[in-house]
Amino acid sequence: MRIAAPNGDETAEISLERLHYGKLAFGATLRVPATAGYGVTLRSCNLQPADDRLLSPPRLMALRRFEPDLVDPASRRRGSFIARVAPEPNSRRAIFLRARFRPEDGESGHGRLYQQSAVWSVSAADWRQHPAALLAMADSELDALPDLVTEDEATRYNAAPARYLVRFIDPRDVWSALEDALKATHWATPTLEFLARGAETGKDATLTFGADDFASETEFLGAVGLALQFLPSSYPRWREISVVSGLLHAPQGLCLRYLPSLRAAARATPVAA
């Protein structure tokens, strides 16, 4: 939906459905009580329990099973991240997932680990139109935090979708930011080439960046957001693009990935795998 904002900017309202899988927790360090088991602990009201399977973390990551050794060591605290069009055929949603392993005995505990994740689901059309804004939002707001034992079920299973206003970005602004990046950074040229080659060849490929390319995940998501925002609406493989961070696995299709522990010495040039 398009709304003319008072200042004349065009803005759109994006509606985000939310789903949490993990365990309930309590207290300042978010410990898991002995009684709490795994489950979907939050599901916003427009998602159906039947959707749980489609939104399960390994499925979204194209993995048989999500395991601790698949998380980049430098991403352990916040977890792995993926943004993509949902994997089911002809899906009309895009998903953003943050998933990690945290100790059951609290945030800096030493006990058994368990899996905690948070998913946003938006319309695929919104993802297509606002990749930069959505990646920025996911970067700042999407965390794999457990829900609280004290929150009652009615609220957790009937949560309203989150709504965000995003501003349409003028394509000229996107281009000028990208032009600057092409001159001043190392990521812009390989990224655009990667996307162009992907469109040409139709092959599966992954472009992996490391610590030498981006100092943080935030920078990476900002850069990829810009590159995706720049893609013309006619880009043929949009639905196959995934943006991945901190995960030692890449889904099929075209994967743009950031591994914060990766150093130049440890890999070849950042070209398609």
């Binding site: 365990k23 088991g37 489950g39 749980d52 601790p68 392993f101 030493h110 006990g111 680990l113």
Partner: protein, 325 residues
């Protein structure tokens, strides 16, 4: 002749299922079981393809040294403090079991046996009583099918604090359903009480000596069974009517410290960790001291139907009660 056997691990969450499985291969390799050392069993993780392959030729490589594979990962996770098995699927681990020594005269053993051991989150089959746990329907259905198709079921229960368990109602119902299911393949069922070393926490270096006495285990089992009367429902599974043989045993994945013989829980580490050698990383840090205790028993009984000094039948558990009466 090669025989394929499927074994389901069942029990409440945090009961020690994954740890039991993670320590199984080491337990066999260290002969840390109650079978005669002359039995010389050997257990090797294999891939799914090897499990289903027509011939079961032994592989030359020692898989424990291979960094790959689901089982290796499970061992590593156990070494790093454990990982709560998620409810998004059930997980199969496959092994090749051979018996290279002499079996007791009464047992006819050939082998090799290809074992498929199924681990799953406790929440799926034995959720906390009264809790509405959202489990994916297809995962529930998969585990139900795996239980019906299992040749053996191993029920893992925590030995300590068994009384205030909030899941016994659901486990009792599961046992009843299993007893009534006509299409099941179940031949053997083993109830194993985990974390046995905790019983000996105050005994220091004498701990291992006491733990090694089968009479102590028998006593502990009788006590546990009195505290968990609902386990009596398992009698319905027993042959001749139920068609299966039921055994009770104890085990400890943490075990007792090699040479020092005290329970392997290091009081100086945060959390509850095994003793480790300073300066080493990962599993290697633990191996200097780690000797699991009897974690092979449930699986070897499940696979071979062979009793050890630490597997007890209802007849053995009931015996003293008759003596007293």
């Amino acid at each position: 002749m090669t025989e394929r056997l499927s074994i389901c691990l069942i029990g409440p969450k945090k009961g020690g299922k994954s740890s039991l499985l993670a320590s199984l291969v080491d337990c066999v390799a260290q002969s840390a079981f109650g079978y005669s050392p002359r039995l010389r069993p050997a257990l090797q993780p294999i891939t799914e393809a090897e499990y289903f392959a027509e011939s079961a030729e032994p592989k030359k490589a020692n898989l424990l040294s291979v960094e790959q594979g689901d089982y290796e990962r499970l061992r590593r996770e156990f070494a790093e403090g454990g990982l709560a098995t998620d409810t998004l699927d059930t997980y199969e681990y496959r092994f090749r079991l051979t018996v290279n020594g002499e079996a007791p005269p009464a047992a006819v053993l050939r082998g090799p046996w290809l074992l498929e051991i199924i681990d799953s989150a406790g929440e799926i089959a034995v959720p906390p009583d009264g809790a509405e746990v959202a489990i994916l329907n297809d995962v529930k259905a998969k585990l139900a099918r795996q239980m019906l198709e299992a040749d053996a079921i191993v029920i893992v229960l925590p030995l300590v604090r068994l009384e205030d368990s909030g899941w016994s109602g659901n486990l009792a119902r599961l046992i009843d359903r299993l007893a009534l299911a006509p299409e099941k393949k179940l031949k053997r069922l083993v109830v194993v009480f985990s974390q046995y070393e905790r019983l000996f926490a105050r005994l220091g270096p004498s701990a291992f000596t006491y733990a090694c006495d089968p009479a102590v285990a028998l006593h502990a089992l009788r006590k546990s069974l009195r505290a968990a009367q609902w386990l009596d429902r398992l009698r319905a599974l027993e042959a001749p009517n139920g068609g299966a043989s039921v055994r009770f045993t104890v085990c400890s994945a943490y075990g007792f410290v090699k040479r020092f013989q005290n329970p392997n829980i290091d009081p100086h580490q945060p959390g509850e960790r095994r003793f480790r050698r300073a300066g080493l990383e990962g599993a290697r840090a633990y191996n200097e001291y780690w000797r699991p205790f009897l974690t092979a028993e449930p699986f070897l009984y499940a696979a071979l139907g062979l009793d050890s000094a630490f597997t007890f039948s209802y007849a053995q558990l009931d015996a003293r009660i008759e003596e007293i009466a």
